[in-house]
Amino acid sequence: MTGRPVAECAAAARPWTPEPAPGGSRLTESLRTYRLVAGMWIRSTMAYRTSFALTVVGNLLITGLDFATILLMFAQVDSLGGWSLPEVALLYGVSATAFGVADLVMGSMDVLGGRMRDGSFDTLLVRPAPVLAQVAADHFALRRLGRITQGALVLGWGLVSVDADWSPVKVLLLPVAVLSGAALFGALFVAGASFQFVAQDAAEVQNAFTYGGTTLLQYPPSVFGRDLVRSVTCLVPLAFVNWVPVSYVLDRPLPLGLPAWTAAVSPVVAGVCCALAGLAWRTALRSYRSTGS
């Protein structure tokens, strides 16, 4: 194979070295990529201002109606599974805010399957940037701030109207629960995205766990059957988003008779889930098959 004509001016095209990502730990690189891509999506959305305004209004209305169903229920009953309205509001607020954050940050991962089908996922893979960050920022939509706003409002109302015996630990526990919950839902999004490599139309399965999970968590664990509570605690540990920490804050017995200290393990549970999801993502990416052309 030697002796083939090679253009004389070889290597002329490399006067600058693109090598190291300056200060490039993987995390900072991912955050940088995320910021860049999300910024492009915000600008893209602004190309259709009217459409953006309408979706923001629509989003606020829909998420607003979400809590209205619970209010309607309490118009008929005084308590739900032994929980009063402010207590349920606290549950709802923690879950909805946590989910809202995760949804804003990586809620469009269900478009991944479509990207793989039409081949545009390939174009993300030839960029010098972490793919997960690119996928998470894909279709970044500011309208999702609506859900966070609504969740935070309900949470705030729950906090002022609930009758709890506050202590420093309990005060600290709530923001920790919200952040861990966001990480947990984020891990679910990533796990769902990984599953889309195997079954490219599996976005709905993912939505069942994420959107379905957050709806489930808006109600006290006592209204559900023991088996469901058990699987939501042990299999997909959603219970640690709000059921466990909020039960502790309200001095209620923890679901499944868990000891009191488990109220503080939400960050650990979230960390483990994120690690597992990361592993699933790496495995899935290596098995990527691309499309025909």
């Binding site: 194979m1 030697t2 083939r4 004509p5 090679v6 253009a7 004389e8 001016c9 070889a10 290597a11 002329a12 095209a13 490399r14 006067p15 600058w16 693109p18 090598e19 990502a21 300056p22 990529t33 860049l36 891509v37 492009m40 600008r43 893209s44 190309a47 259709y48 039409d118 081949g119 545009s120 390939d122 174009t123 893979l125 030839v126 960029r127 010098p128 940037a129 972490p130 290596r286 098995s287 990527y288 098959r289 691309s290 025909g292 052309s293």
Partner: protein
């Protein structure tokens, strides 16, 4: 350059092979002769087929079946083959999109599957059938993203952008949303986007597909220039034989995942024993034209089709026909690449009998 020697120790070992004449090259990078090294590359896709209710059959499809070649720095190579031959799969492995099932692969000394991100800074990719540009945003916004994502130094970015905009005629389009561009304009925009970061190798997958004649010519002209002036290695897959003829000294033909031919384009016609066609319009209907070295394949009124070997010059044939027959008009038609390859493939499998040979003769020279 190599931060993790353990990850590609075998790359370094191979680099030592042909050290001669490779002055001043970066450590860990192959010597001048081999910029892209592919050795026994394989890609196997498991395919599950539904054969009944809940019953499934597992089968393996070998999309790329033991391909070996090297491409030197600054070469311009055409990679051709019929649909489903494994062209795109090879390119996807070279760019790190797909992980190979077997074989060895190095681009600029980097294993694409292991260090996709590091490799990405040094390669440019243009997918003819899908754009990497931002649909709803002005063209310039996509370039600004490249600027930041690839961390191109400001001065270099400005310089490259100005040059590409001028060469590709994009100056009036920079502020137009990509969705409003024509296919040809978008393709030029995509090519510019792939070259802003001074890639050492440019992969183009069907760069002229669907373009009109003028746009095709413009793209080809530009690629020739990039290759000649910047020394960028270019690897392009195409269906269009003219792309190859006008751009590449070397062509690789792949079919059924195997390399059928690797060499000059002229040699391909010889290898495939392909025929060109001389179409002659006579003054009136005449019996079939008889010229040695040709055979009449079709007669339609005063128009006749004469086939002759591609290796033979058309000039003496034309002179002969013009001298002996009342000629009104004529044209020469090049053989269709798919026909050449189909013919070549049929012959090869005849030679091998059952087609179980390890490598086709002449595939690697």
């Amino acid at each position: 350059m190599d931060g993790t020697p353990g990850a590609h120790g075998d790359a370094d070992a191979d680099v030592c092979r042909d050290v001669d004449g490779a002055e001043g090259r970066a450590v860990g990078e192959p010597a001048g002769g081999a910029f892209v090294e592919v050795d026994g590359l394989e890609k196997v896709f498991p395919v599950r087929r539904r054969t009944g209710f809940l019953k499934r059959e597992r089968r393996e499809v070998r999309a790329v079946d033991g391909i070996s070649f090297t491409v030197g720095r600054g070469e311009m190579v055409g990679y051709i083959g019929p649909n489903g031959a494994g062209k795109s799969t090879t390119i996807k492995m070279l760019t790190g999109i797909l992980v190979p099932s077997g074989g060895r692969l190095r681009v600029a000394g980097i294993d694409p599957a292991r260090e996709r991100t590091r490799l990405a800074r040094r390669i440019g990719v243009v997918f003819g059938q899908r754009t990497t540009l931002w649909w709803d945003l002005p063209l310039i916004d996509s370039y600004r993203l490249m600027h930041r994502m690839y961390r191109i130094p400001d001065a270099r970015y400005r310089e490259n952008l100005d040059r590409l905009v001028e060469l590709l005629g994009l100056s009036d389009l920079l502020n137009v949303p990509v969705r409003q561009l024509s296919l040809g304009q978008r393709m030029r925009g995509d090519i510019a986007a792939a070259l802003l970061h001074d890639p050492e190798v440019l992969y183009l997958d069907e760069p002229t597909i669907g373009l009109d004649v003028v746009s095709k010519a413009r793209v080809r002209e530009f690629l020739r220039e990039v290759n000649a002036e910047r020394g960028t290695t270019v690897l392009l897959t195409t269906h269009d034989l003219q792309d190859i003829e006008q751009l590449c000294r070397r062509v690789m033909v792949i079919d059924h995942g195997r390399l059928m031919y690797d060499g000059a384009l002229a040699g391909l016609h010889e290898a495939g024993e392909s025929e060109r066609t001389l179409v002659v319009d006579l003054e009136r209907e005449l019996p079939p034209v008889r010229v040695p070295g040709t055979r009449v394949v079709r007669v339609e009124g005063p128009r006749q089709w004469l086939a002759f070997p591609s290796s033979q010059s058309a000039a003496p044939l034309v002179a002969r026909v013009a001298a002996e027959y009342p000629l009104v008009d004529l044209s020469v038609r090049e053989p269709d690449i798919e026909t050449v390859i189909a013919k070549m493939y049929a012959e090869r499998s005849d030679e091998r009998g059952d087609g179980a040979g390890v490598d086709t003769p002449g595939a690697v020279r």
